[in-house]
Amino acid sequence: MLIKFFIKPRKGVLDPQGRAVSENLRSLGFNNVKDVKVGKYIEVYVEENDREKAVEQAKEMAKKALVNDLIEDYQFEVVED
């Protein structure tokens, strides 16, 4: 199975990267850009055929290492690799 993690700064937490990219896009003429959040995309391949087990494992991975829930939000999806 392949677990795809999408991690981004929590709402209200300052994202200097996002702000810089947002300003750059506006300077390129994309005047309707309101805000940009720059996050992370992580792919984790696990040797696991049981989708439910992979989902449980994904939550544990996020909690223990991949995400700092004080400052980050995340979503994930489990797909066949």
Partner: protein
């Protein structure tokens, strides 16, 4: 007193810290490999600055899951003294030995400069050689020093005297201009509830010899010696 200095792949202030303890404080000190768990004979362990494991994922995260950090958690739980400087501070928050998290600097820039700090609590093992309100001049050098903690936890930390250092101007005023990274309430250094774990973004080891322009870092290092004696 026996000091141990943790060495992770990417630590780069390890030898500076080691040298200050050996040559300036003239105390017993050893470097400890991140795969080691043999740390019981130390009195104080220092997690130095640098970019452990390249700061991949988040600064300090990968280092916080090593055998050595696991042993340091047990050591701290038993009351052992632990100091995390810069990347060491980031490792301690990621290991949940200290509350809060360190985010990228508000302006997105790496900041490297001498910085004034106000001692907020002089009644700790790390600041007993200071006076409350004393102003220290100690360099900072970091990209992710923007300390963040939720309001409830912050209130508890303030009530419990866990805010040890704040960024200030040369007169001790806590102002936005004196805040180099956007840290909540200008926080530069905090301790855990029991006051045996201390994390700070400034580098006391870079302020421990007159040739470096300031010896104010010695207040912190000498405090831990005084506490131990």
């Amino acid at each position: 007193m026996r000091f141990g200095v943790a060495v992770y792949p990417g630590s780069n202030c390890d030898y500076d810290t080691y040298r200050v303890i050996r040559d300036v404080l003239k105390e017993d000190v050893q470097l400890i490999d991140y795969r080691s768990t043999d740390i019981e004979h130390y009195d104080c362990i220092i997690l130095p600055g640098g970019f452990s494991f390249g700061d991949y994922l988040r600064p300090g995260t990968l280092a916080s899951h090593t055998p050595l950090t696991g042993a340091i958690k047990d050591f701290a739980d038993r009351g052992g003294f632990v100091i995390g400087i810069c990347n060491g501070f980031q490792i301690l928050t990621e290991a949940h030995l200290l509350p809060g998290a360190l985010m990228p600097n508000i302006h997105g820039k790496f900041v490297c400069r001498h910085q004034y700090l106000r001692v907020e609590n002089a009644d700790t093992p790390f600041t007993n050689q200071c006076e409350e309100g004393q102003i220290l001049k100690i360099p900072i050098a970091h990209h992710d020093g923007n300390y963040f903690v939720d309001e409830d936890t912050l209130r508890k930390m303030e009530d419990n005297g866990q805010i040890i250092l704040r960024y200030c101007d040369e007169f001790g005023n806590i102002t936005e201009e004196a805040n180099p990274n956007g840290s909540i309430r200008n926080i530069a250094g905090v301790s855990n509830e029991k006051k045996n774990v201390f994390g700070l973004m400034p580098h006391p080891e870079r302020a421990s010899e007159s040739i470096l322009g300031t010896e104010d870092g010695l207040y912190i290092l000498r405090s831990i010696l005084e506490h131990h004696s």
